[in-house]
Symmetry: none
Subunit: 188 residues, 4 copies
Amino acid sequence: MMARPKSNDKRRAILDAATRVIAAQGLSAPTATLAREAGISNGSLFTYFATKSELLNQLYVELKTEMAAALHGFPAEAPLREQVLYVWTNWMRWATTHPDKRRALALLAVSDDITPETRAVANRLMAGVTGLMERVRAGGPLREAPMPFVGAMLTSLAETTMDFMIHDPPNAAQHCAVGFETAWRAIG
Amino acid sequence: MMARPKSNDKRRAILDAATRVIAAQGLSAPTATLAREAGISNGSLFTYFATKSELLNQLYVELKTEMAAALHGFPAEAPLREQVLYVWTNWMRWATTHPDKRRALALLAVSDDITPETRAVANRLMAGVTGLMERVRAGGPLREAPMPFVGAMLTSLAETTMDFMIHDPPNAAQHCAVGFETAWRAIG
Amino acid sequence: MMARPKSNDKRRAILDAATRVIAAQGLSAPTATLAREAGISNGSLFTYFATKSELLNQLYVELKTEMAAALHGFPAEAPLREQVLYVWTNWMRWATTHPDKRRALALLAVSDDITPETRAVANRLMAGVTGLMERVRAGGPLREAPMPFVGAMLTSLAETTMDFMIHDPPNAAQHCAVGFETAWRAIG
Amino acid sequence: MMARPKSNDKRRAILDAATRVIAAQGLSAPTATLAREAGISNGSLFTYFATKSELLNQLYVELKTEMAAALHGFPAEAPLREQVLYVWTNWMRWATTHPDKRRALALLAVSDDITPETRAVANRLMAGVTGLMERVRAGGPLREAPMPFVGAMLTSLAETTMDFMIHDPPNAAQHCAVGFETAWRAIG
DNA sequence: AATGAATGAGAATTCATTCAT
DNA sequence: CATGAATGAATTCTCATTCAT
């Protein structure tokens, strides 16, 4: 009758468990482990996600959604640099506050299991930020470059900065600031 | 008394096959597939590499060695910018000329199978370039930042640029140039 | 909520199959053969026994338990010789009635897969008989010898007698009786 | 041209290595290990023994031959008890002096690889002792029992005694003596 | 729906034996 | 003959997915 089974709680539990387990063990973690960690039976997992691959795709979207949410709400009136700084800071905060989610997301991003459709959906989630980036690009040195290129360059600098913040917490604030300045020089 | 000496050709064949297969199917490609692709039997693979993990570690070093070789030979007298441009260009050329190697290397770089020892060895291969980067950093805006951070930022921009070059060959030259300018602004 | 409960029948089927197959082919019999013989799939065997080694250990305990059960119930009031004769006779009867179990048990007893813990458990099963042996020893020529030595000597005579009974059924009763007299002379 | 290849030294080296390795690792020790331990190449092993099974069979005969040699030379004039004691003592000495050989022999004795033909050959080696045993039997309580039965009973007591001597060296002499008295009571 | 046992197609290795050198 | 690489069948164990309860 219903495509979506009843308990959304369980769906969440599975996705949360998957985030934790994948962060710790990688994408090859057995579905049985995910189920156990979620407190359900291994069979039940497949009433919520038809295949492991589908679970991964949905998790990718969920995590990206959450991450995107953390970036939005930037002050549209402020100078561009302020806006980007706001996004950058929130991004870094989200990543360092949720290192498991960050790691799972990074693993998923390079997985062959993630379909092009899923990637398209995920990208759309960043639309708001993409709009901001668009404005940044238009007024900066990369105004001739294609938008995806600019976005990817920024993202790669952000990811790298996150890694340093996560692995070197004492200097996290420092890394965050330097990372931003670097990124701003690159594309701002 | 040498019987059939352990053929270097065969070792190469395995590593080459692994590069291809891993680029296409990922690190979880069965050893049997690697063997078949290398034109040897199942069991023979293990006379050349005791475990799959060892094969991956050696492949990582091989690929990194090759990549590093492609970057070196930059003109030590020229202005720093020239030197970096030289490295950048060669790097991009190597990556776009050998997309399989590039992809395999990228997958290996994030694999849990690669040991810290192997990573240390691989890093030492880049010593020459690291020296150049050191000089760049010292004279640029990142002079206060730790060297690994600067290296990682540059690398991430390079990787991103490569991806665009590989997936959009018509504009490869363009991407290459824009990527370099962006990187130079960021850290030069 | 019990789904398919882990069937005790199936566990038994595996152990029985293992007994038969091991008696016929030795301890190196493939797990796949045990599974086939038990009428289950390859993989199912491992839901009942995590490893082949664990299966062997449990089988050892099962067989020893059964054997020990066959020995007990000797008449505590009767003269020692009567009691021992009772044990001896039951022992021989069990062995000749279940030659597969006997052979499997003999193979397991000398296997490196059987852990010290398992051996300890198995020995405890013979406690009642050991008590009897203790009384026999105390009143006989071996009263100065350590108990394990006496037990081992008796066991070895019993094992030998069994072999003859099994391989020469027509004279089994004869072997049984002569074996007992010999053993009683040795330690009674 | 020649059934037997040249170097008897190598044959010996292989058999000696096999004794050591099998004592330590069991009969499933790889032929490659035996070869390495013997200081030859794995391929060479098969010019001396066509199959692993043949190697095991020959080793069994060799060890049994050596053991039999250690038992012989008993004083034919002395009283039977003296003669048996002589045999028993030499047997124990050989076993405790060469625990590897003893263990390898014990493992081989229960192996399925040993053919009936080999067993027949091995038994013939004990002919001298068997003759002595025959005389013992004829004058003792087992005069009605078949000779193989008597021999097996004695052997089992001897094996058990050896085990205790080997695993409890401080009391080896004690075990040896008690074992003999027990055996003599049983069959003398 | 939920459960967890059942399934069976792999996966990485191992190893006796063969064969090119 | 010696060598040791080559072979490929065999082995234990894993895991996504299905299905009986």
